[in-house]
Structures are given as structure tokens and as C-alpha cells.
Amino acid sequence: MSWLNMVWGWLPEFFDGFLVTLALVGMCLPIAVALGMGVVLMRLSNHAVIWAPTYAAIEFLRNVPTFLLILVVYYGAPLLGSRLDGIYCGAIAIAVQHTAYLAEVFRGGVSAVPRTQWDAGRAIGLRPAGVFFRVVFPQAALKVVPAIGNQVVVLIKDTSLVAGIGVVDLTLSGKLVMERTAASYEVFIVIAVFYLALTTLASAIFHRLEVFSRKRN
């Protein structure tokens, strides 16, 4: 069972990387959700001046690779005079792209709310903004809980891309351990198990949320 000892020896190295991964998720997720809700409002605006550029930006961001966005921030930030750590470059890029993803998810949710709900809201005297915030959007949010759960898993996996710019997250810590201890690809199998645990946890949490939301649907 020497490989068990071997894995045990790796764990402290992974731990730091794991913390970095968690930090990235912790930073990007709330920002993406909050900004996503804001962006979807812009996307749903009736003024072409607002929704057109928003639509363009969302579609653009959704159709480019995440790693490329990370590179843009990483190489571009110094040009703008800031000395950002790699981890923050990654965080900005991931947060921005996931804002676009989530804005689309929310938009889908809003369009899934039946037209009749709008009528009902207006019938009791609410103005359009009121109808949206008090009647339609809450229902839309409940409808998209599973889709958001999926996006969270995607976000967790996307954090691994900062390994490409040298940020020591869970993935890169694996590469370092491998180079230092002459171990091989098995290291990454252990890393994979770590990610699996993380994503399973996230899915389980969202499962609970789904059950909660289904009752109110």
C-alpha cells in the first residue's frame, strides 16, 4: 500500500491549490450571479440602445473560449498599468464570461414564465417594473435553478484554466507534485477525484434547492 502513503504525502500540496480553486469559485460565482441578473435587465430592455449592445456582448462572450479571455486579462492588464496577480486575472475573465452565460440562463427563465402572469400582475394594478420584479422574475429564478446548478459545475471546472497562466490551483498543484516527486499521471487521477468531490457537492446542494423550487413552481 505504498501508493496510499504516496497519495497521503501529496495531500498538503494539493490543499493549497484546492484553496485557490475555492477562492476562485467564491469570487466568481456571486459576482457572475449578481451581474448576470443586472445584465439580463439590460438585455430585456425595450430600448434598442440598451439591448442591442448587450445582446452583442453576451453572444460574443458566449462564443469565445474561456482560456482566451483569461489570456486577454493576463496580458492586457499590465498594458493598462495594473499589476494584477494571475489569480485575479483569472477571476475577472471567468466572472465576466459566466455573467454572460447566466444572463442567457435568466433570460430563458423569464421567457418561460407564461404571458398570463404579466396580465395577472397588471390586473392587480402593478406597473410594468413592479410586475417584473415581484411577479415574473421570482418565478423565472425558480424555474432556472437546475440550469444555474449546471453553470456552477461548469464554473468550478473552468477555474482549472488558470493553470495555464501559472496560478497554482488544484490542477497546477498536481503538475508541480508530479514534477517534484517523479510521480506520473496518477497524480491527476487523484486531482480528478478532488474535482469530482467538489462538483458532486455542488450538485447535491443544487438538488436540494431544486426540490425547494419545484414546490413553488
Partner: protein
């Protein structure tokens, strides 16, 4: 933007490599995935469980980790393959799972009543599969499959992290040489966009046509 124009040749050559890798990934993963998906739809509990486990693992692990496993693992298994082969193998394993899950779900989503109509005129199960479940199931599967293809194209950029020379890697080279980060990367993003956006439009169009079968 002059820098962008000067490098455009270089970048377009790299874009071609990206398209090649993407095409290989899409074709192989779709073939394998469809076979697996059909097997899981009609097969017994064993093959269904295998697929469930496979999809679960692939869903929960980053593509990059799979690429690393393939990149460092293949030499250890005695296979001396270039880095783009390792990357492509990892991508194929990754996307075949999604394709299989989509195909399986779509075949099973064909309404039971349509299948019963086939049974009522005396069709046998093999005929039901080939005449009803597969044609109708694949129509349902097309929109999510096209979306998966678009994601696959974007994922090729992760191969650059293990040194595969494709569009992202080339763009990094140019930026490090010229420091014109925004112009170069913006141009490259436009290239990726021009490949992926039409694909996603296809998916939306297909979704509208075959939404209700």
C-alpha cells in the same frame, strides 16, 4: 491594428489547425457517443449503469485535467504520441460522454404513444428502433448535439496549455513578441466567434424546427 494584419497569416494557419483538431474531436466523439447512447437506450442495466458512471465522471472533471492525464499518461503506457494526439484523445473521451447522454435521452424521449402505434401495426422491436425511435430520436438530439459541437470547438484552446500549436497558442506567441495584447487577442476572439456563432445559430434554428415532434 497593423500588427494584427501582419500576423494574420500566421494566425489563420493556426486557426486551420484548430479547425482540424475540432473536426477530429467532433467526428470521433459523435460516432463513439452515438453508438454508446443507442446501446444504452436499448440495452440492459449493465450498459446503462456504465454510461451513467462515465457521464458522471466526465461531467465532474475539468477537460484540462483529462488532457493532462492523457498527455502525461500516454508515454507511461508506452505510446509515443505527439501532444495534439493526446489532447484530441482526451477531448474525444470528454465529449463522447455528453453525446452519448444526449442520444440516450433523445431516443427515450420519443413518445410512448408513437412507439405503440408502431407495435399496433405489427412492427417488431428492431423495426421500431430503426423506423421510429432512431429517426425521431436523432431529430430531438440535433439541437443539443450542435451546441456540444460548438463547445468542443472552444475546448480546443485548452490544448495550448500542453503545448499544442493551435490558434490560442499562436496568439500567445504573437502577443509575447509584439505586446499588442488587445489587438491580437481581439482578432483571435473574432476568429473563434466566426466559427462558433454560426454553429450556435444552427442549434437555435434546429431547436425551433424540431421542438415538438
Amino acid at each position: 491594428m497593423d500588427i494584427a494584419f501582419l500576423s494574420i497569416n500566421y494566425l489563420l494557419k493556426a486557426a486551420l489547425v484548430t479547425v482540424e483538431i475540432a473536426a477530429a474531436t467532433v467526428v470521433l466523439s459523435f460516432v463513439i457517443g452515438t453508438a454508446l447512447g443507442v446501446a444504452a437506450a436499448i440495452g440492459g442495466r449493465t450498459i446503462r449503469s456504465i454510461l451513467t458512471v462515465y457521464v458522471y465522471v466526465v461531467r465532474g472533471v475539468p477537460v484540462l485535467v483529462l488532457i493532462f492525464i492523457a498527455y502525461f499518461g500516454l508515454p507511461r503506457l508506452g505510446v509515443d504520441a505527439p501532444n495534439y494526439v493526446a489532447a484530441t484523445i482526451a477531448l474525444v473521451i470528454y465529449f463522447a460522454a455528453f453525446v452519448a447522454d444526449i442520444v440516450r435521452g433523445s431516443i427515450l424521449a420519443v413518445p410512448k404513444s408513437t412507439v405503440e402505434a408502431g407495435l399496433a401495426i405489427g412492427l417488431r422491436w428492431t423495426q421500431i428502433l430503426t423506423q421510429i425511435q432512431l429517426p425521431l430520436g436523432m431529430r430531438l438530439a440535433l439541437p443539443p448535439l450542435v451546441t456540444t459541437a460548438s463547445i468542443a470547438v472552444k475546448s480546443t484552446s485548452y490544448a495550448s496549455i500542453v503545448g499544442v500549436w493551435e490558434l490560442t497558442y499562436a496568439s500567445r506567441e504573437v502577443v509575447e513578441r509584439t505586446l499588442a495584447a488587445f489587438e491580437i487577442f481581439f482578432s483571435v476572439m473574432v476568429i473563434y466567434f466566426c466559427i462558433c456563432y454560426p454553429i450556435s445559430l444552427c442549434a437555435t434554428y434546429l431547436q425551433r424546427r424540431h421542438a415538438a415532434v
